[in-house]
C-alpha cells in the first residue's frame, strides 16, 4: 500500500515546476488516471494533457443545472480535443427524492450542501472509486483560506480508504488566475462564454453569478449564504490559533 509520505518528496520535487511537467510526470506514472474538467478555465489542463497523451481520459460532472453556455462549452471541448470524455450524472433515485421532498431550489433555504452532495459528490465519488489518480484544476489563489495548502501531488484525503490510495494531482496549484488566462490567450484555448459576461467562478446556474471587478471569484458562488456558513466552520478565521 502506498503511504501518504511517499508523496512528500514528489510534491517537493515538483513544487515549482510548470504544470506541463507535472502533468507529464503524472500521465507517465499512472495509467488509470483521469482529468477532472469543470467546464471553466481548467480547460488549460485538457489542452496540456492531450498534447502529452492524446486520447487522455477526462471527466466532467453534469449536475443537470449547468448554464447553457457551459453545456455548449463542454461540447466544444469534446469536439476540439482528442480526449475520451466521460460525462457523469447524479443518481436518479437520490435526485428524485430530493426534488420530490424539497423542490428544485432547496439550496436557497437549506444551503447548498445537500444538493451539491447529490449532484456532485455522489457521481464524483463513484468515478474516483474506479481510478488510481485524478488531476484537478485546484489553485491556491482560488480560496486563500481553504486552498492555501494545496500541494501539487497528494494522497486524496477524502476519497482514499484504509486499503486504497487515490492520488490527487493539482498541476495548477502554483498558478494564479492571471497565469491561467495568459496561457489561454497565448495558446488560443477555447473558453466558456460566461467568462465574457463577468463570471469568474463557474458552477451551477442557480448558484453562480457574475462578480464585479476586483471581487474575489468565490463571491460569485452561494452568495445568499453567509461567508461563515459557506465554509461550514472550516474557515481559517474560525481556527483559534495556539498562542
Amino acid at each position: 500500500m502506498t503511504t501518504t509520505f511517499e508523496f512528500e518528496p514528489i510534491a517537493g520535487r515538483f513544487a515549482d515546476r510548470h504544470p506541463e511537467e507535472i502533468l507529464e510526470w503524472a500521465l507517465g506514472q499512472y495509467g488509470n488516471i483521469s482529468v477532472s474538467f469543470s467546464g471553466a478555465e481548467d480547460v488549460v489542463l485538457v489542452d496540456m494533457a492531450c498534447r502529452i497523451r492524446p486520447g487522455v481520459p477526462v471527466f466532467t460532472l453534469d449536475t443537470g443545472r449547468l448554464h447553457a453556455d457551459t453545456y455548449r462549452f463542454i461540447e466544444t471541448v469534446r469536439e476540439t480535443y482528442p480526449i475520451e470524455l466521460d460525462v457523469l450524472h447524479p443518481d436518479a433515485e437520490q435526485l428524485n427524492q430530493l426534488v420530490r421532498e424539497k423542490g428544485l431550489f432547496s439550496f436557497y433555504r437549506d444551503g447548498h450542501g445537500e444538493c451539491c452532495g447529490i449532484r456532485k459528490v455522489g457521481p464524483l465519488s463513484r468515478k474516483l472509486a474506479t481510478l488510481d489518480a485524478w488531476i484537478t484544476g485546484q489553485r491556491r489563489d482560488q480560496s486563500p483560506d481553504t486552498r492555501a495548502e494545496v500541494p501539487v501531488v497528494q494522497r486524496d484525503g477524502v476519497f482514499s480508504g484504509p486499503d486504497r490510495t487515490l492520488v490527487k494531482i493539482n498541476p495548477l496549484a502554483n498558478w494564479s488566475s492571471a497565469d491561467v488566462w495568459k496561457y489561454i490567450r497565448e495558446n488560443d484555448v477555447p473558453f466558456n462564454e460566461l467568462h465574457r459576461k463577468g463570471f469568474a467562478s463557474i458552477g451551477c446556474e442557480p448558484c453562480t453569478r457574475a462578480v464585479l471587478p476586483n471581487q474575489h471569484e468565490r463571491e460569485g458562488r452561494w452568495w445568499w449564504e453567509s461567508s461563515a456558513e459557506k465554509e461550514c466552520g472550516l474557515h481559517a478565521d474560525n481556527v483559534r490559533k495556539a498562542g
Binding site: 509520505f5 510534491a11 447548498h112 456532485k120 459528490v121 497528494q154 482514499s160 456558513e229 472550516l234 481556527v239
Partner: protein, 118 residues
C-alpha cells in the same frame, strides 16, 4: 469554541508547546501530515498545552479528559459528547469516511467545502 452550523461535529487539535516556545517534534510532525493531507483547515480549534503551564487551554483540556500525551484530537458532537483520538491514522479514518446516502454526501460537502467547486 467557534461553531457555525451547530449540527456538525467540531475538531480540536491540542499540541504541546515546549518551554522554548516551539511545538514538540511529534506535534510538528503531525502538523506537517495534516498540511500534506489537506486536513489542517479542517480543524476548528487549535489549543496549546504549554510546558510548565497547567492553566494553558490545551493542558486544562488534557487534564479534564485524562489525556497524558500530546498531540491529540477531540471530536465534539453537537449534543455535547466528546471523543479523544490520539492516533493520527485513526483521525484520518474518521475524516475520510465517504458514505453513499444523501445525508453522508451532504456531510462530505460540509466537511470538504472545496468539493462543491469541482
Amino acid at each position: 469554541m467557534t461553531t457555525v452550523s451547530g449540527t456538525e461535529p467540531t475538531v480540536v487539535f491540542v499540541k504541546k508547546i515546549q518551554a522554548g516556545g516551539e511545538a514538540c517534534a511529534k506535534c510538528r510532525d503531525i502538523e506537517q501530515r495534516l498540511r500534506f493531507d489537506g486536513l489542517m483547515n479542517r480543524l476548528d480549534e487549535i489549543l496549546a498545552a504549554r510546558e510548565g503551564d497547567p492553566d494553558s487551554p490545551g493542558a486544562m483540556l488534557a487534564e479534564r479528559l485524562g489525556v497524558r500525551r500530546a498531540p491529540f484530537f477531540v471530536i465534539r458532537d453537537p449534543d455535547g459528547g466528546e471523543r479523544v483520538i490520539e492516533s493520527y491514522l485513526a483521525f484520518k479514518r474518521w475524516f475520510s469516511t465517504v458514505g453513499s446516502t444523501t445525508g453522508d454526501l451532504k456531510d462530505v460537502v460540509d466537511r470538504h467545502p472545496d468539493l462543491a467547486f469541482v
